[in-house]
């Protein structure tokens, strides 16, 4: 029998006294390409990081790299979340900083970052060019890293990994946040590099996988269990239907029948036009889907509505009946909106407990926490119960599995019963069962007079209540329509 490529023996890891991995054994033979799926919180990401040498555990992990191969002898890990640093190697950026313009450029451009990566790993730049095209990234070359949206950051990470073509490529939730076209191309590129000798290890519960994938596994009780196919992965237990807390069954106060009005709004950064002549009216009670490829301007458009974009002050924008820049504060605006987005999640306080995170929703993070009133405390408890988060309420938010973190942030978003919900890719990184659960809650909430703007790439992953759709491409509105039937499927 030939020597295994990856050999893992008796791997053990505990986190805060709770065993995550227990005597885990695993062998990957050349020619095998694995997917790890299964329930959230079983240790998939931890295992991936251990193999890539980013985390330590007790036990043996050895990888027999081929010294004669022209692929780098590396186990390269692409995380679910993006990370980038400024020119001094720090990561202390703040929420929505990318919309505030400063002359001192703190981060590299995409092009400079790629050149830097290429030099570090000794790669020829012309090999990156096709990847930029296939993942629809070609127009981002001169963009500063800080200006990229979450989907674009994900792409940049993938481009670097695929360009590197390491002998072992580990990708955590590869499809998170990608638009449809990029996703289809990514599947092909995975197959291409697998053929050229890269061993793939993907962490996902997605069923739409590269054809090269031929082995499936999940982690159960800290051990690796091989499965027959992606269909046989264990699913998170289905949520029991619970009635929506009473305070959310009350119709929210509506400030104006026309919630959002944009007339001929453009946003440009120097030469780059991010939004072009966008006009859009959102009336109270409407449920909008906002769609478009990565980089089409969705996040920028939403930042105009949430008070986060400086250029809103000189554009024709009315929010809740008031023209922007006529004496309102961003906190007056945020008070009326419940927001959730990958970026908000990314920049969320890493030290907040679940309870604190939800409570901060009352104040849009204006932190008079000392003053949380009795009534508000009761609401927090009710909502935590509704989302089955009571047992986790004192845990640090970011230590929970991603799905639970998102539910906690949704709870934060709705705790004040806002009139407008802006959910920007709320299901990014969630598996199908979690997505269905999440969207069912959104539908339920929307029965009670909410206005909704929802961003999602995939038709199969939307709430039923959607009745309008706006589609952006390259910053322009290409479609704005009323939807009669549920878009789903």
């Amino acid at each position: 029998m030939k020597e295994p490529f990856v050999h893992i023996a008796n791997l053990n890891l505990q986190y805060a006294g709770i065993p995550i991995l227990q005597d885990l054994n695993w062998q990957i033979v050349k020619g095998e390409h694995w997917v790890i799926g299964g329930k959230s919180g079983t240790g998939k990401t931890t295992l991936a990081k251990i193999i890539a040498g980013q985390e330590k555990a007790n036990g043996d992990v050895s990888i027999n790299f081929n010294k004669n191969s022209n692929s780098p002898a590396q186990a390269y890990y692409v995380s679910n979340w993006y990370q980038f640093t400024n020119l001094e190697g720090e990561r202390n950026f703040y929420y929505q900083q990318r919309y505030n313009k400063h002359q001192q450029n703190d981060t590299l451009t995409v092009y400079a970052d790629l050149v830097h990566f290429g030099e570090k790993h000794n790669l020829a730049f012309d090999q990156a060019e096709p990847l930029l095209l296939q993942l629809g990234f070609d127009n981002c070359r001169n963009t500063q890293l800080i200006e990229l949206s979450s989907g674009e950051h994900k792409k940049l990470q993938l481009i670097q990994a695929l360009w590197l073509r390491p002998q072992l490529l580990i990708v955590d939730e590869p499809f998170t946040g990608l638009d449809k076209a990029s996703r289809a191309n990514l599947l092909e590129i995975f197959d291409d590099i697998a053929e050229k000798g890269t061993t793939l290890l993907l962490i996902t519960n997605d069923k739409d996988l590269p054809t090269a994938i031929n082995c499936y596994a999940e982690i159960q009780n800290g051990q690796l269990l091989q499965m027959a196919s992606a269909d046989s992965f264990s699913k998170d237990t289905e949520r029991q239907q619970k009635p929506l807390p009473y305070f959310l069954q009350e119709l929210p106060k509506v400030s104006s029948n026309i919630m959002v009005e944009l007339k001929d709004v453009s946003v440009r950064y120097g030469e780059k036009e991010v939004l072009k002549n966008v006009s859009w009216t959102v009336k109270a009670g409407e449920k909008w889907l906002l769609q478009g490829p990565n980089g089409s301007g969705k996040s920028t458009l939403l930042s105009l509505l949430t008070g986060d974009h400086p250029q809103a002050y000189t554009a024709n924008i009315w929010l809740f009946g008031q023209k922007r820049g006529t004496g309102e504060s961003i906190w007056d605006i945020k008070e009326k909106i419940g927001i959730i987005s990958p970026e908000l999640h990314w920049y969320f306080d890493k030290n907040a407990t679940v309870w604190h995170s939800v409570a901060s929703g009352f104040y849009d993070s204006i932190g008079w926490f000392i003053d949380v009133k009795h009534e508000e405390r009761k609401k927090i408890e009710q909502l935590l119960d509704f989302f089955d988060l009571l047992p986790d309420k004192n845990k640090i938010l970011h230590t929970l599995p991603l799905g639970k973190q998102r539910l906690a942030l949704l709870a934060r978003t709705i705790i004040k019963n806002p009139q407008l919900l802006i959910l920007d890719e709320p299901c990014q990184g969630l598996d199908r069962a979690q997505t269905v659960h999440f969207n069912a809650v959104v539908d339920e909430l929307c029965n009670y007079g909410k206005t909704l703007i929802y961003v999602g790439h995939y038709e199969s992953q939307l709430p039923d209540c959607i009745n309008h759709r706006l589609i952006l491409e390259k910053g322009e509105v290409v479609d704005c329509e009323t939807v009669r039937e549920p878009i789903k499927q």
């Binding site: 001094e88 720090e90 202390n92 703040y94 929420y95 929505q96 900083q97 505030n100 313009k101 400063h102 002359q103 001192q104 950064y269 008070g307 986060d308 400086p310 250029q311 002050y313 000189t314 004496g327 309102e328 504060s329 961003i330 906190w331 007056d332 908000l344 920049y347 969320f348 306080d349 030290n351 907040a352 604190h356 995170s357 409570a359 901060s360 104040y363 849009d364 993070s365 204006i366 932190g367 926490f369 000392i370």
Partner: protein
Amino acid sequence: MVNYFNTLPLREQLNQLSQAELMEPSEFTDGIDALKGKKIVIVGCGAQGLNQGLNLRDSGLDIAYALRKEAIEQKRDSWKNATDNNFTVGTYEELIPNADLVINLTPDKQHTSVINAVQPLMKQGAALSYSHGFNIVEEGMVIRKDITVIMVAPKCPGSEVRAEYLRGFGVPTLIAVHPENDPEGKGWPYAKAYCVGTGGHRAGVLKSSFVAEVKSDLMGEQTILCGLLQTGSILSFDKMIEKGIDAGYASKLVQYGVEVITEALKHGGVSGMMDRLSNVAKVKAFQISEELKDIMRPLFEKHQDDIMSGHFSKTMMEDWANGDANLLKWRAETGETAFEKTAAGDVKIDEQEYFDNYLLMVAFVRAGVELAFEVMVEAGIKPESAYYESLHETPLIANTIARKKLFEMNRVISDTAEYGCYLFDQACKPLLADFMKKIDSDVVGKNFNEGKSGSVDNATLVQINEILRSHPVEIVGVKLRKSMTAMKAIKTV
């Protein structure tokens, strides 16, 4: 112009020096109302100017930027900063005459020329704001009697002012009204509303005076904040090289160590920082820092005396007039030190290792913070002011050293701070020569605990802890940090 402070009778000097009151949240319930609908024009669009302006506009205020004609014509960075964020930008002549409030956020050194250009254009009864009182107190600028003069000084770099605001918080801020210029009694309502607009009211606001701000700010930046961190860093590095410690390691320990060590200071004060050491190390650090306090006290006192008498600002302004001859010479010398020229090595240093292997810096920080605080308070400055200008700002300055060493620190701080820093450093190094001869690598470069039993005399330890915890900087620190951490602990987005 004559030094304003020196024109005051002693009783009034003491009165203004001792202004320091932590304000209650209930004093800010009117929000931004006093400035709502008023025309606010900011002069200068650097880090403070831009970030404060972004916050004020996001709070519902009407903000425009007045820049010098050349800055606009040549599309300088200040012009780009303002226009890229869709602010109205105009010349002084275009914008100042209509302004109800002019906010001066230009560098200290330009204040006289800026005020001379702006003041004649200001309308009757307008208000003028500073974020540092040097121009009024030391240079003695006299403002027209119909104009209200206030100060709003966020005690953080501009980028932090913005970041904390967007998270829904703010940074600790000092506000003041110049007693010579409050003809309509609107000074405090304006200063409070401006402070609310920047988010400062959520993080602890100190009601101060122009005099107290200047005299404490100068003292802090010259001694503990910049001067001592520079002296301590250079001496520590040189000692490690002398004792054969790897240069890359030494460079990294010094560059990042001060940031890690003062981070503990930020959260738990001096005793919190000292608690990061083992018992034996704490006893040693205590002894060294006591010795350092004795040696350096006269120097700290001299700096405070020169600041109070106006001697410091007089000599610095002479250097300004002399084309910054001394400043530029000292700046060049700092760029040439061995520490500055040795890149941080590619070695991993664990967080605790920065304490265990850099005990000397812990001792320097304790000595410097306590000395600066003590000397300020002895000179008539209130503990609250002294705390902000010593302990509170130390981690912020340490962060600049971690970024790009002392050169970066001196680039980021004001020219005034930089000048004072070199002045201190020049005097402090010879003062510590004998002390440094006794220092070995066990307190800088190597783990002090290595090869030691770890046991200490209990009574000694109890006594040391008692001395550390009962120091007045700790007492006032607990009170002030409470008003900040109430926010910090739950900062979200």
